[in-house]
């Protein structure tokens, strides 16, 4: 059976069909791969309250601070005096480094780029763009005498 020379519109239709199928095939591979490589949002830490330890914690007394886990994020607990404990997000607002407390200078300091915060978490020097988030600290007396338990929670 001789169909004669293929007509141009028929050829164009077939090209379109082939190109369309190839594009569909490609989409059907690329879309799941793109979704797969973008990680799912991990659920927020369920605990919004963390027990950090006792007020007579030797590390806290000696160095004046302690960095603890609050869910997934690090939190710095600072012992300003025996009754005054404060907690801040320990992540420097500049570029994500973990801050430390300098007991003698009474300031929160980030080693990475010399960012400095005061005891309210406000930026006093260096590049950080925002203050540190402050968290709530409660000292819970489980017994009538002796050390109390430090409880950090999101205010």
């Amino acid at each position: 059976m001789d169909l004669g020379p293929p007509r141009r519109d028929r050829r164009r239709f077939l090209s379109w069909l082939l190109g369309g199928s190839a594009s569909a095939l490609l989409t059907y591979i690329v879309y799941p791969v793109l979704r797969f490589v973008s990680p799912p949002a991990t659920p927020e830490a369920s605990s919004h309250q963390v027990e950090v330890g006792l007020t007579n914690d030797p590390e806290l007394q000696e160095k004046g601070y302690k960095v603890v886990r609050f869910g997934e994020e690090p939190v710095i607990v600072i012992r300003v005096s025996s009754d005054d404990l404060r907690a801040f997000s320990a992540t420097c607002t500049h570029l994500d480094c973990i801050v430390e407390y300098q007991k003698d200078a009474r300031r929160i300091w980030c080693n990475c780029h010399n960012g400095q915060y005061d005891l309210m978490g406000r930026v006093v020097a260096g590049p950080p763009p925002r203050p540190l988030e402050r968290l709530r600290v409660d000292l819970v007396a489980r017994e009538t005498t002796g050390p109390r338990t430090i409880v950090v929670s999101r205010a």
Binding site: I29, P32, V33, F36, V37, P39
Partner: protein, 388 residues
């Protein structure tokens, strides 16, 4: 735009042998005869290998190779990562399809006597690739760190340990210690994602290069037909058929992965009693089943169990050496003895696999594969009139 492409082409032309490559491709042909369908099997195996590389790399984005985290990371991937279940399922199904096609490719090449001179090296690299692919299967099986994998690996490595002389060393080498532990997992992961891929890439390169240099072998008895019929141009005729086959293979693969997702099971527990139906992957089944037939005991300090293992190793060695053993095929193109041996070995492997599964499915699969090649051969028009 047009001149930019032309400039780029001239620039590349001056630096690369593009002209020779074009010449080569333009003149590359594939013989036409009624068994030409078997020429697509190697390419199909290669396609699944490519899927394995791509999906395996993607799985590495989430997988954590440690006894503590491996199972959980796979579970996380399957539950929380979008399309994670599909990606793992594709990797597992594609692995099985690749091994199946590698076996079919091996069988067709064997029965077509395509290993005859000058293609001995292609055969040898192909056999080594098959062993490597089985190594991929064995090492990959453990990685999800589930009960089935844990016990299958214990048994599998224990079998290696029963070999005389080298057994103890081999067992420790495979396990990375006396027992199957997190150390074994790290080791298997290293084999699976670094060592085996490196060796496989090298061998595959040589294998494909040899096929390009020597072209396709015409099976014994089909020379007259191949000489009479005009050959198929590789580009575009053969390549388009290849691409169509790959698109079809992808569709089958994704359908299997979506409809029958690969199970994860329970996390490995070294203290749990052995699984009821503990068994290896299907491609090791005939060996596993053979070992079940061997009674306990030992002779001259060698366990009875070691004998079938040594026989299988000998068999693997002989398989590699087939082109040098089958002198008749090299001379006359015919070697009924080797065809007979091939049929015998295949029948044995299929029978024991069927016995292991208490199912006739393995027999049906092999008969269906053979029937498909046969039907395609019968459906091939005799070359009465030249095409084109």
């Amino acid at each position: 735009m047009r001149s930019a492409t032309a400039t780029l082409r001239r620039w590349l032309e001056a630096r690369l042998p593009l002209q020779q490559a074009r010449e080569f491709v333009a003149h590359k042909v594939v013989p036409a005869h009624r068994y030409a369908s078997i020429y697509y099997l190697g390419g199909m195996t290669l396609f699944f290998f490519a899927v394995q590389v791509a999906s395996g790399i993607l799985l590495m984005l989430y997988y954590r190779p440690s006894a503590e985290a491996a199972f959980e990371s796979v579970e996380f991937m399957m539950i929380s990562v979008p399309f994670g279940w599909l990606m793992r399922s594709v990797h597992a199904w594609s692995a099985n399809l690749m091994i199946f096609l590698a076996f079919v490719h091996l069988a067709t090449v064997y029965f077509a006597k395509a290993y005859r001179a000058p293609r001995e090296l292609t055969w040898i690299t192909g056999c080594l690739l098959l062993f490597i692919v089985l190594g991929f299967g064995f090492s990959g099986y453990l990685l999800p760190w589930n009960q089935l994998a844990f016990f299958a690996t214990k048994v599998g490595t224990d079998i290696a340990g029963s070999l005389p002389l080298v057994g103890d060393w081999l067992l420790r080498f495979l396990r990375g210690g006396e027992r199957v532990t997190g150390g074994t997992l790290s080791r298997f992961y290293g084999w699976h994602v670094a060592i085996l891929p490196a060796v496989a890439t090298l061998l595959l390169g040589v294998h494909l290069l040899l096929v390009q240099i020597q072209g396709m072998s015409v099976p014994a008895g089909r020379e007259a037909e191949a000489a009479r019929r005009p050959p198929l141009r590789f580009v575009p005729d053969f390549l388009l058929r290849d691409l169509f086959g790959w698109a079809f293979a992808l569709a089958v693969l994704v359908a299997l992965a979506a409809l029958f997702p690969w199970e994860l099971g329970e996390k490995a527990n070294p203290l749990a009693p052995a699984y009821r139906d503990i068994r290896p992957e299907w491609y090791f089944m005939f060996m596993f089943e053979t070992l079940k037939l061997v009674p306990g005991g030992e002779i001259a300090g060698i366990e009875y169990e070691a004998f079938p293992i040594l026989l299988f190793l000998l068999g693997a060695g002989l398989l590699v050496l087939v082109p040098f053993l089958d002198r008749g095929a090299a001379r006359t193109g015919r070697s009924p003895i080797f065809t007979g041996i091939g049929v015998g070995v295949l029948a044995y492997a299929v029978a024991l696999t069927a016995r292991g599964y208490r199912s006739l499915l393995p027999v049906l699969v092999v008969l269906a594969s053979a029937a498909l090649i046969g039907v395609l051969a019968l459906a091939t028009r005799p070359a009465a009139r030249p095409q084109r």
